[in-house]
Amino acid sequence: MSGRISRSRQVSGTSRISEEQINDLIIKLQQLLPELRDSRRSDKVSAARVLQETCNYIRNLHREVDDLSERLSELLANTDTAQAALIRSLLTL
């Protein structure tokens, strides 16, 4: 299908990749971040700041997933009939 489209575009190192391309990607990333998206001021946000916020955000999400996993594991270990009830409730959704 379209398995090899843009592999040929980024041939060698970083010099081939255009600035505008990177800029666009960073803008898309910025729109995902909750802090930088809501307070969209008119002045420019630096790329380094966006990347830093992205790293922080991903670490936060990882930590949240870890916490939720712990809670889930405790809940799953304690409950036995909850399994059947859970499946039943999901079937009715």
């Binding site: 990607l25 898309k28 999400l61 996993s69 809670r71 594991s73 405790e74 270990a77």
Partner: protein
Amino acid sequence: MASLFSDNEQPPTNSNSSSTVLVRKKKSLSASSPSSSRGNAASLPTRDGDSHPRWRSEKQQRIYSAKLIQALKQVRLSSSSSATTSSPTAHKRGKAVREAADRALAVSARGRTLWSRAILANRIKLKFRKQKRPRQTVIPAVTTVVTTGASSRGRKRRVSVVRLNKKSLPTVNRKVRSLGRLVPGCKKESVPVILEEATDYIQALEMQVRAMNSLVELLSGYSTPGSDSAPPPI
């Protein structure tokens, strides 16, 4: 939703046959959403700036929730057969849950992203150690699409501005590298690949958090005695 779930119901098996479970899940789900996923793949280069819709749709969340529950059932079985519950194994169980959730998330990505392939490849690294990027091991018939040329059309629209000058290039490079270390499987990729993977990964993680939150709420609603008359609304 009911049909989706009943298609995936299988007798509980061990974790080493989870790959076949994943394969069968993919086959049963491909009938339900072939056009949407292909439409998403085709729309990625022409996307007009809105975030990837597939991680935010209701259907995607349901698909992921179903897979998550399947995976968690297997986790639960394997942990209950081993040593009994005590606090030292709490973290191990949490880790097992986390890995199952990540695996389910990676499968939901349908093999289209680097990080999902890396997550799944790590699970079976023992068997496929010689392959550098085992794309076609767990997920059959995957189309590898890398669409980093999204800006090649020369769109003039820009909602907010990011200043990227030559002076800050080493800083930006450094930060992109550290970002690449956070996203699974992107340690050695080029800059636009890392950025693209990060956007997808963040949305997938957000969906994972949402799904696990609702799952925790649902389960904690059941673990308290006396509240089993009606399921709490999600």
